[in-house]
């Protein structure tokens, strides 16, 4: 029942969207405002119908309606509620329905914001109606594709008892928000595209980029959020130590973002000086076509080499849509070419205009490079009958220098004004850039990052960063001086007055920081494999990793295997990392590796559990050191905030009538609330719960086992041989060696003279030694005999009532624990310890 209603609603939405396009066209043709009103109503109706259809699908997921094939394939009864909800867009059918709905919603918002102006009067008033025609056609295309080729409401002949569940790899907050963010971006880019076409049809090409700037900006911001979340998901879940593999699906999302970035820059130029009209049209058409192309390639199987999207006829329809829209747009542009002349073409390269032009060219060549790389197997096959494939190295090498040049332009551009004064300004304002260009690579080199190419890249980052910083400082200082304001207030006011400019700078700052992260991770990442037995340690780039513990546990639909590693550096305990693997028998034994992460500014320590034998007696770890990876996420956050600042509605027009002002306030409040929520969700998805699998628990829960390095050593009171007692607490503030032994144990007998020798050397220092013999009270004579034979002078006692050794998880003798002055375990030895080992350990704790 639900399914039938869903299909019917989608079908109705298709009809209504087509009607809206027709009505809008007719209203222009007949200059009839009643038709215009009808078109608007049609757009609203299509939005409502698709919205209800989407809610029905959501309800189907929440109610486990497994007779619907799409639900059965992507959900299961055991799935938590929030995952059931996000499973709506876990596959192609639901994604397309969401896409259609969002496209309709954006069309409705466009229609609403263009107001109810009469279409009767002139070309300028007709432009929004043309845009409505194009947007409604796009909505109809997606709705039609959803209904006829990829219907999420399709039912099965037999109803399965349970669904197949959601792929474990998708159960991550990043993956829940990533697809809607990408779709919002894709859908948003259709708005400036439709307006550009409408502008060409109506010959009103002067200000269309300004009218749609906020749409472009919003779409661009959502694409950015989507890409960042995808990167974070890759880093957190896929367990390969990286975040960007240049795979065609990633590229399909990146390319429209690149052209949209270029479009935002070209918009500034058209707004400020009426130029760059060709560029704006070219870029908006490219952005839209790249969105369609991404969908086409990933669904058509054309990029078969790396991609697994099911090949379907869908691709053909997208290809047809690309050809129709591309040919149509180009024909329109050519027809209207007389309107597109630049009144004042940039004359000098070394001017702000000239730099903008170079920036646009670079964005195009980068996009072109990524495009060529994505289709290289097909391309080379056609040219030479041999297939070549572009790997990550290809992409890094081809795009790296171009991104470097882009950074250079980012650093130089704000220093230049109009052509005539450019050189003078450069001389006057260039010095912070130079300092930055020296400072950043200097700092990098000091911290050990010394590859020559990366130093050049760091210099570019420093140059761009210093210029941006200098802009803030210069403007803040100028305002603060002229208005006699507190500099902080001035900075705040600057952001308030010119959100676009300073939001833009903030975006640049974010990109620059991300640049640091990209250079660090791309050029300095290091990984190695370590196979360890319990208690065994390995040194990786200054970290000492000790394999402590192994546990397997059956959880819901999977088996979780976790290994614990204590991490220390120079003898100082840092944290305990617990990489794990989830095995899902229901998914053809699919596994999901959950890396454990210790993130610091300088580098991330990223560990994957690679394999183990039955009981964890031998475990293999893959250890990655990812240099500067944190800058990527910090930069990403600043980038998002900058985008949000630029998007924030300006507080203009103080002279609004009261109802209008009130409406505006409400709208702004709602907008701010929604925007903050989306941002917050993105931030949480990236830095929140995640599946980082990091752990640093202390004592308590682990009391039954052996205290790990870094945990508090359990206190005890020992009856000494001389009849007195000694507590560990008595030795508080001392470095203490606790040795468990027994007279019948040959290795203990061998190591005791070493302990005595070290005691002799260190007893003047702040050291305590305790020997604990694990023996029956009746054996005291034997213990005393051995103590006197070896000549042990440090306190020895007997744990006859077995009160102490279980708290240390001792399972055999000898075992030794070295406890630091704070009372935490610093070293453990399972088996004998030598005098040299003890000396080294004590020395490290005295430093």
């Amino acid at each position: 029942m639900l399914a039938e209603i869903g299909s019917i609603l989608t079908g109705l939405a298709l009809a209504v969207a087509l009607y809206a396009a027709g009505a809008a066209f007719w209203s222009i043709h007949r200059s009839d405002s009643r038709w215009a009103q009808s078109a608007r109503n049609g757009v609203y109706a299509a939005t409502g119908l698709l919205g209800v259809a989407f809610l029905l699908l959501l309800a189907a997921f929440l109610n486990d309606q497994f007779q619907i094939k799409y639900v059965a394939e992507h959900s299961s009864r055991a799935l938590p509620l929030y995952l059931k909800a996000s499973a709506v867009w876990a596959g192609q059918e639901g994604s397309l329905l969401l896409w259609s709905f969002l496209q309709a919603l954006f069309t409705a918002l466009v229609v609403r914001s263009s107001g109810g102006g009469s279409p009767l009067k002139g070309d300028a008033a007709r432009r929004p109606y043309w845009a409505t025609v194009f947007l409604s056609l796009i909505t109809a295309f997606f709705t039609g594709v959803t209904l006829f080729l990829s219907n999420p409401f399709a039912q099965m002949a037999t109803v399965p008892a349970d669904g197949q569940g959601m792929n474990p790899l998708l159960r991550h907050p990043g993956m829940i928000f990533h697809p809607p963010a990408m779709y919002l971006g894709y859908v948003g880019l259709a708005v400036p595209f439709a307006f550009a076409l409408a502008a060409l049809v109506t010959r009103q090409v002067d200000d269309w980029p300004t009218v749609t700037r906020r749409w472009t900006l919003a779409a661009w911001l959502f694409l950015g959020i989507g890409l960042l979340l995808g990167m974070r998901w890759s880093y957190d879940v896929l367990g390969w130590g990286g975040y960007w593999g240049w795979d065609p699906v990633e590229n399909a999302g990146l390319m429209p973002w690149l052209t949209a970035t270029a479009l935002l820059h070209a918009t500034v130029m058209q707004e400020q000086r009426g130029g760059f009209r060709w560029w704006n049209l070219l870029l908006v058409v490219l952005s839209f076509e790249l969105v369609m192309f991404g969908t086409f390639t990933t669904r058509s199987g054309m990029i078969q080499s790396v991609h697994a999207f099911a090949r379907s006829d869908l691709g053909l329809y997208f290809l047809a849509a690309i050809i129709v829209t591309l040919v149509g747009s180009v024909a329109l542009i050519v027809k209207r070419r007389s309107l597109l002349a630049d009144p004042r073409p940039p004359a000098e390269i070394l001017s702000r205009d000239g730099m903008f032009l170079l920036t646009l060219i670079l964005f195009l060549t980068i996009t072109g490079s990524v495009f060529i790389g994505s289709v290289l197997p097909t391309l080379t096959n056609v040219i030479s009958d041999q297939s070549f494939e572009a790997g990550t190295e290809w992409f890094d090498r081809v795009t790296g220098p171009q991104f470097g040049l882009l950074l250079l332009l980012m650093g130089v551009c704000p220093l230049l004004g109009q052509a005539a004064a450019a050189l003078k300004r450069l001389r006057a304002r260039g010095w912070p850039a130079l300092i930055g260009a020296l400072l950043v690579p200097g700092a990098a080199a000091l911290s050990g990052l010394t590859q020559p190419i990366s130093l050049v890249a760091f210099a570019l980052v420093g140059l761009a960063g210093a210029t941006t910083l200098a802009e803030y400082i210069r403007d803040t200082a100028a305002r603060s001086r002229s208005r006699k304001e507190n500099p902080l207030l001035s900075l705040w006011q600057l952001f308030g007055r010119n959100r676009r400019k300073y939001g833009g700078y903030l975006v640049h700052t974010g990109i620059i920081l991300m640049g640091l992260g990209i250079i660090g991770t791309r050029m300095y990442s290091f990984d190695t494999l370590a196979t360890l037995s319990p208690g065994e340690s390995v040194d990786v780039k200054g970290y000492t990793l000790t394999y402590e513990d192994f546990a397997q546990e059956s959880v819901a639909d999977h088996m979780n295997t976790t290994a614990s590693l204590s991490v220390s550096r120079n003898g100082k305990y840092l944290t305990t990392l617990q990489p794990s693997i989830d095995q899902y028998p229901a998914f053809v034994d699919q596994t999901a590796s959950i890396p454990a992460l210790r993130a610091r500014l300088r580098e991330d320590l990223y560990i994957i559990l690679a394999g183990w034998d039955q009981n964890g007696t031998v475990v293999t770890f893959k250890v990655f050191i990812n240099s500067l990876a944190s800058f990527l996420w910090v930069g990403g956050l600043i980038f998002l905030v900058g985008g949000a600042v630029a998007l924030w509605p300006a507080t203009q027009g103080a002279r609004l009538p009261v109802p209008e002002a009130r409406r505006r306030t409400i709208r702004t409040t709602v907008g701010v609330a929604v925007g903050s929520l989306v941002l917050l969700a993105a931030v949480m998805a990236m830095w929140g719960t995640g599946t980082g699998g990091r752990a640093g628990e202390q004592g308590g829960a682990e009391a039954a086992g052996r205290p790990r390095v870094g945990q508090a050593a359990p206190d005890f009171t020992l009856d000494l041989l001389d009849g007195s007692t000694l507590s560990l607490a008595d030795l508080d503030g001392k470095v203490t060696v606790i040795n468990f032994w027994a007279t019948w144990c040959a290795p203990c007998e061998d190591e005791l003279p070493d302990f005595q020798a070290v005691w002799n050397e260190y007893q003047e220092q702040n050291v305590g030694f305790i020997g604990i013999a694990i023996q029956e009270a009746a054996e005291q004579a034997e213990v005393e005999e051995m103590v006197s034979r070896i000549g042990i002078t440090y306190p020895i006692g007997m744990d006859s009532d077995e009160a102490i050794f279980p708290t240390y998880g001792v399972t055999g003798v000898p075992e030794t624990f070295v406890v630091d002055a704070e009372g935490n375990v610093a070293y453990t030895h399972v088996g004998p310890a030598s005098a040299d080992e003890l000396r080294a350990e004590l020395d490290s704790l005295f430093e």
Binding site: E73, A90, G91, Q92, N167, L169, L170, P179, G239, W240, G245, D247, V249, T298, G301, Q304, S305, V306, H307, A308, F309, A310, R311, P345, P346, A347, E348, I349, G354, L357, I361, L362, T365, G368, G373, L376, T380, S387, F388, A390, G391, T392, W394, R397, Q402, D527, L529, T531, F587, V588, D589, Q590, S593, A610, G611, W612, D613, V619, T620, K622
Partner: protein, 161 residues
């Protein structure tokens, strides 16, 4: 007019530099893309060269030794041309048929790394590496896609080496 010429020159310079980057890197870092059959037909000519091979994974042959770590498995020929795959009934069917075809060319793969999460029966493996003198393919990188289910959003898992 002089201004315009300057920009055309600068633009061409950038485009030429990028074209050079693309062409030179295609020669040096791009991989030959071959099917199992083509690889074996080329034999010594590609020995030691970087190539990319794709094939269907035989689930029973997967052996993983975590202590090295090293995975060995056998892949079966699947057509490289998307048209051919399409005509044969889609990727899932092609992969399924391949693993059940005892006569199709096979290739043993050695991958000295952690076992990828998606390595399983009837997955399509795309392997970058070299054909060794022992006739085994020594993979540096294995990309996997699993066409049977959930193909939409888990296109692959990248295993960097």
């Amino acid at each position: 007019m002089a201004g315009k010429t300057k920009f055309i020159f600068a633009g061409l310079l950038i485009v030429a530099a990028v074209a050079y980057l693309i062409i030179s890197n295609t020669g040096s870092t791009a991989h030959y893309f071959l099917t199992v059959e083509e690889l074996q037909a080329q034999g010594d000519r590609v020995a030691g060269r970087n190539v990319t091979v794709s094939g269907a994974v035989l689930g029973d042959t997967i052996v993983y030794d975590p202590s090295v770590p090293r995975v060995t498995f056998t892949v079966v020929e699947v057509p490289g041309d998307p048209e051919e795959v399409e005509q044969a009934g889609g990727l899932a069917k092609v992969l399924h048929d391949a693993v059940n075809d005892a006569t199709a060319p096979r290739l043993e793969v050695v991958y000295e790394d952690v076992k990828p999460d998606l390595l399983q029966d009837e997955a399509q493996a795309i392997m970058r590496g070299q054909l060794g003198a022992d006739g085994h393919f020594h993979a540096d990188e294995v990309l996997l896609k699993c066409p049977t289910r959930y193909e939409e959003d888990v296109p692959e898992q990248v295993e960097e080496s």
